[in-house]
Amino acid sequence: MERIPILKMGDCLLVTIQVDMHDRLATTLQDDLTERIVAARARGVLIDISALEIVDSFIGRMLANIAAMSQVLDAKTVVVGMQPAVAITLVELGLALPGVSTALNVEKGMALIGRALGRSDRADGGPQT
C-alpha cells in the first residue's frame, strides 16, 4: 500500500508531501503520524507541503486533524512551505486552518517547534556561539 514516509529527527517527526495525495493516502498519513508520535515519543511534527499544488477541504481537514491530535498527544505540529497561490485559494475556499501553526520554511518551522518546547533559538540555524 502506498504511504508517505515519516522521518525521525531527534524528538521530531518530519513529513514531506511530494505527491498529489488521493483521499485515502491523506487519511493513512493522519493515522500513521498519530501512531508514530506515540511510538517515537515525538514532541514536534513538521509537515512540509511546499510541493503541494492545491490544498482542498479534505487535505485541509487532514492538516487540522493532525495538529489537533498531536496537541492531545503533547506534540507541536507546524505546517511549512505553503505556496502563495495555495494560501490565497484556501482562504477564499473558507478554510482558515484554525489551530494549525504555520511557518515559511523548514528552518523557521523547526525554530517554532523549538520555541514551543521551551528550547533556546539555536534551531533557528543562527550562528552557534
Binding site: 495525495m21 488521493h22 482542498d56 479534505f58 497561490a85 485559494t89 477564499e92 475556499l93
Partner: protein, 134 residues
C-alpha cells in the same frame, strides 16, 4: 460564444479526484490561466469531484474551453445520478453537510469561480456547472 475544445471523463473513485485535478490543471495551463487562477479552479474541481463520488455515487466531468469575444473561459460540468439535493440553498451554506466533511465543498467551489450553476432533482441527480474566465 464558441466552444474551442471539449472532453469528458468518468468520476468514480478516489483516484479519479486526483486525475480530475491533473486534467483541469492541464487545461487551465494550456489556456494561459495565471497560477492563482489555475489553483482556484483546480481546487474547486477537486471539491466538486469529491461531491460526485461521496454524495452522487459517481458520475462524469465534462470540460469545455470557451471563447467569448476577447475572453476565454474554462467550464466544468459535474453530473451524477445520485439521490439529489433536497435543499440546494442549505447545501450552499458553509458548514452544512449531510456527510462527515466540513461543508465547504459547494459554497467554497462557488467562491472560487466566476459563474456557478446548480440543478438538482431529488431521486434523479445533481449537475453543477462552474466557469472561470481569464
Amino acid at each position: 460564444m464558441a466552444v474551442l475544445r471539449r472532453d469528458s471523463r468518468p468520476v468514480r473513485g478516489d483516484q479519479d479526484i486526483v486525475a480530475v485535478r491533473q486534467l483541469v490543471r492541464e487545461w487551465a495551463v494550456s489556456m494561459g490561466f495565471s497560477l492563482v487562477d489555475q489553483t482556484k479552479i483546480v481546487t474547486a474541481a477537486s471539491e466538486l469531484a469529491r461531491n460526485v463520488i461521496v454524495y452522487g455515487g459517481g458520475g462524469t466531468l465534462a470540460l469545455e474551453a470557451l471563447n467569448d469575444g476577447n475572453r476565454r473561459g474554462l467550464r466544468l460540468a459535474f453530473e451524477d445520478r445520485g439521490p439529489g439535493i433536497p435543499d440546494v440553498d442549505a447545501a450552499l451554506r458553509d458548514g452544512f453537510t449531510t456527510g462527515n466533511g466540513l461543508g465547504l465543498g459547494l459554497g467554497g467551489a462557488k467562491r472560487l469561480c466566476n459563474e456557478f450553476d446548480i440543478t438538482s432533482r431529488p431521486g434523479e441527480g445533481t449537475r453543477v456547472v462552474i466557469t472561470r474566465w481569464r
